[in-house]
Amino acid sequence: MSAIVAKTRERGGASLRLGAALVALLIGAAALSLVWTPYAPDAIDVPHKLLQPSFAHWLGADALGRDVASQILAGARVSILVGLIAVGIGLVFGVALGLLAATAKGVVEDAIMKLCDFTFAFPALLSAIMLTATYGPGVVNAIVAIGIYNVPIFAKLTRATANGVLAREFVLAARAAGRGPLAIAFDHVLPNVAPALIVQATIQFAVAILAESALSYLGLGAQPPQASWGRMLSDAQNWMYVAPRLAVFPGLAVALSVLGLNLLGDGLRDALDPRLRARR
């Protein structure tokens, strides 16, 4: 058995490294944009519109003369912000609900799970659209809308994994030692549930980026002059035959970020889980 585990870890290593590299690139781009971009992302320069990539504009300029490269870098900021906060909301509320469900059991567990099922019944993206359309477009509302959908995902995952942990003998040992349910939840359940949560978080991060792009594309997310990959894609529609690169670059940015996060998640799953089960 341990032989198979060892091999899996080797394969997982490649995903982990590539994923980590791509995610580092994403974070690096966002961080860089805080201090420097080749041009101001919202600097309109109509005389220089639709320029091909050159020394002056590395990735070209869009229909309003704005530098594409600068917008990509600044757009990374929005993507990361959305990912972090949406996943953050999901983790904080979802894990709490999941732990509560697993520890309290009975009616409480049923109620929480039904609430999650209820939320799942609504198609996520449509509901996000509804929410932003009702409360007004903007990055903040987009984040909240996406974040709400992460809560039942993490709640269900936490509860299922927590149930598995609660059945283990060391939890019984903790009870025999006089620890109460709260102490057990924090000291024993949470650390053992964490690997599954970390992996899911990377996946949800990628989903958040995609969702934000979709919302921005529809005009409901980041508003101009704020740079966002989704908005860039929306603007690029009109120029598809003249300058398809205006859609390719932001599209690539989204694709690489999502790929990186998914690979990171895969790699982490392989790296974290077997160690827990690694025995003799």
Binding site: E169, F170, A174, A177, P191, N192
Partner: protein, 319 residues
């Protein structure tokens, strides 16, 4: 005459099962059916039984991990189930447990020091500084070193992990240690090490054990008195040596015969004629080689058979 260390009185644990149909009543399973016994300080007690005997359920009820349906468990005269929550927590310092699975009973994400010190959180009067001293003391008592406190469980072998579990059980200096299959998951050579450790602790630290096991030899090695459990009830109790060499109940005899031994030639057992499991009468009658009409109709009570022995049988072996 001092109060016994542990007193179990008429313990019953029922489980309700899924009902076969919407209008049928819920069937119940009597996992523990009116068990009572007494453990005196210094005299270790063993409960032997196979799967389905209810011994693990009994252990959990005694440890106050699973509330029984009825009955009482008294530790040094105080009834555990009548205590308010805070006091029950404090009592846990006096009764600790060693679990069967050395790979599951230690949290893989915690260091040994934290694992072994966990029961101490119950005792408000143990200061931080004293905690690490106690951890070291406990680890040394089981043959491990202070350096081991910083490691993680996966760095140890099965036998060593069981020692860590014993260290954890001993850290509050409990009066009674309940050991649920303490050596079943270990290799033979390691079993001997752990059994030796347990005997040593008995002698040197005055620990009293309640050992739950399916293995007669293990129980016989540590315990002064043994109870044999079958389908939720005790069928025989008595001093170890006598019970193992001159069993009075046919089931005890079956267990003793079935245990593979090197020294003797195998005892070939004829199959008991198939008999339906009766709702009344002796629970063992369906398998018993000596069952008679009375056994099918009337369940025998656990009665005294002389020299601290009790048997639940209408026709015990040897009179």
């Amino acid at each position: 005459m001092s109060a016994p260390l542990l007193e179990v009185v008429d313990l019953v644990k029922l489980y309700t099962l899924a009902r076969p149909g919407w209008f049928a009543p819920h069937p119940t399973r009597r996992a523990v059916d009116g068990v009572g016994f007494v453990i005196a300080a210094g005299r270790s007690f063993g409960v032997v039984g196979e799967s389905g005997s209810g011994k693990s359920t009994l252990a959990r009820a005694i440890m106050a991990l699973d509330r029984p349906t009825s009955g009482a468990v008294r530790l040094e005269g105080r009834s555990l189930y009548d205590l308010p929550r805070k006091e029950l927590r404090a009592m846990r310092a006096h009764i600790q447990m060693i679990f069967q699975d050395p790979y599951g009973s230690l949290d893989p994400r915690q260091r040994i020091a934290r694992i072994v010190a966990e029961p101490l959180s119950n005792l408000a009067h143990v200061a931080r500084a004293e905690r690490s001293a106690r951890v070291e003391e406990a680890l040394r008592a089981v043959g491990l070193g202070a350096a081991d406190a910083l490691k993680y469980p996966h760095e140890f072998s099965g036998g060593q992990r069981q020692r860590i579990a014993i260290a954890r059980a001993l850290i509050t200096r409990p009066k009674l240690v309940v050991a649920d299959e303490p050596v079943s998951a270990l290799d033979v050579s390691v079993q001997a090490q752990v059994l030796n450790l347990m005997s040593d602790l008995q002698r040197e630290a005055g620990v009293t054990y309640l050992v739950i096991s399916h293995d007669l030899a293990v129980v016989g090695h540590i315990c002064d008195e043994i109870a044999v459990m079958f389908r939720g009830g005790f069928v025989e109790t008595g001093p170890s040596a006598t019970l193992l060499t001159r069993p009075a109940h046919p089931y005890t005899r079956e267990l003793v015969d079935a245990a593979p031994k090197l020294e003797e030639a195998p005892v070939s057992r004829p199959e008991a004629p198939p008999r339906p499991d009766a709702a009344t009468g002796c629970a063992y009658a369906a398998r018993c080689l000596f069952a008679q009409a009375r056994c099918l109709g009337e369940a025998p009570a656990l009665r005294v058979l002389g020299e601290a022995r009790r048997v639940a049988c209408h026709f015990p072996i040897g009179g």
